[in-house]
Symmetry: C2
Subunit: 237 residues, 2 copies
C-alpha cells in the first residue's frame, strides 16, 4: 500500500519463453548468413542441437515461416527460401522504398542525441572496415547497428519492425555473398554512402539522406546480382 509509488516505477519485465529464445537463435543464424538459401532445417535436429523439445522450435519456425524468412515446402520440408533474381530485385526495391522514408523522417526529426549515436555507429563501422584485417561478422553487425541507429530516429515503431523483418529476409542472401566475396567491403562503397547519409542527417536533408541509403542498398544488391549468384529459378526440382 505505502509503496505504491515505488512499485509504479518498476519496469514491467518481459517474459521469455523458450520459443522466443529459439526464435532469436534461428534469426541470428539467418541474419548472419550461416544458414544459406536452400539449406534445410529439421525440427528434431534443431531441437536436439538446442537442447529443447520440438515444441519451441516449431513455434519459432512457424513465426519465421510467416515472415517468409523460412518456407515449408509442399513436401513438408523446411528450408531457407532460394530467391530468384526477380524476387531479390523486388525485395531490394521494397527495402529502398521503406528504408528510404524511414531515413528521410529520421533526418528531419533526429534529436542531437540520436545524431550522436548515429555518428558513433558510423565511426565504429568505418574503423572496422578500414582495419588491416576486418572481421567480416563484426563488420556485418556494425553495419546493421548503424542502419538501425538511423531508423531508430524516425520515431515510428511499426516502421522499424517492418525494416527489421526485411533485413531478416534479405540477410541470408546478402551475408552469404559477403562471406564468399569479402572484397565488397574493401571497395568502400558502403563507407562513402554512409558518410553521405550522416552528412545529410546532420543537415536535416531528408531527400539527400534517403538517396544515400538507397544508393547503399542498391550498390550492394547490384554487386550480388552482377556476380550472378542468383539464377532465376522457377521451381526447384
Amino acid at each position: 500500500m505505502n509503496s505504491a509509488l515505488a512499485l509504479a516505477e518498476l519496469p514491467l519485465l518481459e517474459r521469455r519463453t523458450l520459443s522466443d529464445t529459439v526464435y532469436e537463435a534461428l534469426s541470428d543464424l539467418l541474419a548472419s548468413g550461416r544458414l544459406a538459401p536452400g539449406d534445410r532445417l529439421s525440427l528434431r535436429q534443431s531441437a536436439a542441437a538446442l537442447g529443447v523439445s520440438v515444441m519451441p522450435v516449431r513455434e519459432a519456425v512457424s513465426r519465421l515461416a510467416a515472415d517468409g524468412v523460412l518456407e515449408v515446402a509442399p513436401n513438408r520440408v523446411i528450408r531457407v527460401p532460394v530467391m530468384g533474381a526477380a524476387a531479390f530485385r523486388a525485395l531490394v526495391e521494397t527495402r529502398i522504398a521503406v528504408e528510404g522514408v524511414a531515413v528521410a523522417r529520421a533526418a528531419e526529426r533526429r534529436t542531437t542525441g540520436e545524431l550522436a549515436a548515429i555518428r558513433s555507429a558510423e565511426a565504429a563501422f568505418r574503423a572496422e572496415a578500414e582495419a588491416a584485417e576486418p572481421d567480416r561478422a563484426r563488420a556485418v553487425q556494425l553495419n546493421r547497428d548503424l542502419h538501425f541507429a538511423i531508423y531508430g530516429a524516425c520515431g515510428l515503431g511499426p516502421l522499424q519492425e517492418i525494416i527489421a523483418r526485411l533485413w531478416l529476409k534479405a540477410g541470408p542472401v546478402i551475408n552469404l555473398d559477403l562471406r564468399a566475396h569479402p572484397e565488397r567491403l574493401l571497395q568502400g562503397f558502403a563507407l562513402r554512402r554512409h558518410a553521405e547519409a550522416v552528412t545529410a542527417i546532420e543537415a536535416r536533408d531528408g531527400a539527400a539522406a534517403a538517396a544515400a541509403i538507397a544508393a547503399d542498398i542498391r550498390e550492394a544488391a547490384e554487386f550480388i546480382l552482377t556476380r550472378g549468384g542468383l539464377r532465376d529459378v522457377e521451381r526447384e526440382d
Copy 2:
C-alpha cells in the same frame, strides 16, 4: 517422362494445414473488428469453438502475436492489444508512408488491365456506400478490396505483404469504430478520396495518388481520434 513439358505448367498446389485455417479464421475475426481491442482469447476455448485441438490454435496465435496483431501479456493472457492514441498515430503515419509509396508506384506502373480492376473495385465500393441501407461488413470488405487492387499494381510482392500486416494490425480499432459509428461511411470522405486516387492513377500521377490515399487514411484516423475512443494508457491495471 514424355509429359515433362505439360507437368511443368502445373500450378504447385499450396498445402493447407489446420494452423493455416485457424490463422485465417482469427485474422478474419480481427480484420472485421469482431474481436475488439482488449478482448481476451483462450486457446482452449478457441480450439473447442473451432473443433480442433489447441495445437493449431497455438501456432496461429503465435504468428499473430509475432505480427503484433495479438499480444500475450506477462500474465500469459492473450488479448487484442489496446492501442493508445500515440501508438495509433504511429501506426497511421507508418501506413501513410508505406501505402503512399505503393500507390505512387502503382500509379506509374499500372497496366490497363489493373486500371480496369481498380475502377470496378471503386465502383463496387461506391455502390455499396451509396446504397439506401449500406451493409457495413460488406462495405469494409469492398474498401479493402479496392485498396489492395491498387497496391497489387505496384509490382512489389513484399510491399503488399507488409501492407496486409499493417491492415491486420489496424483492423480491430478501425472496424470496431466503424461498427459503433457507421455515420463515417455516410459522410462520403472515403468516396471522394477514392475517386481522386483513381483519377490520379489513370493519369499516372504518382504524387497525386499518394496524396489522395494519404488523405483517405488520415481522415479516417482523425475521425476516430477526435471521437476520443482511444485514451492514452501507459499500463493496464
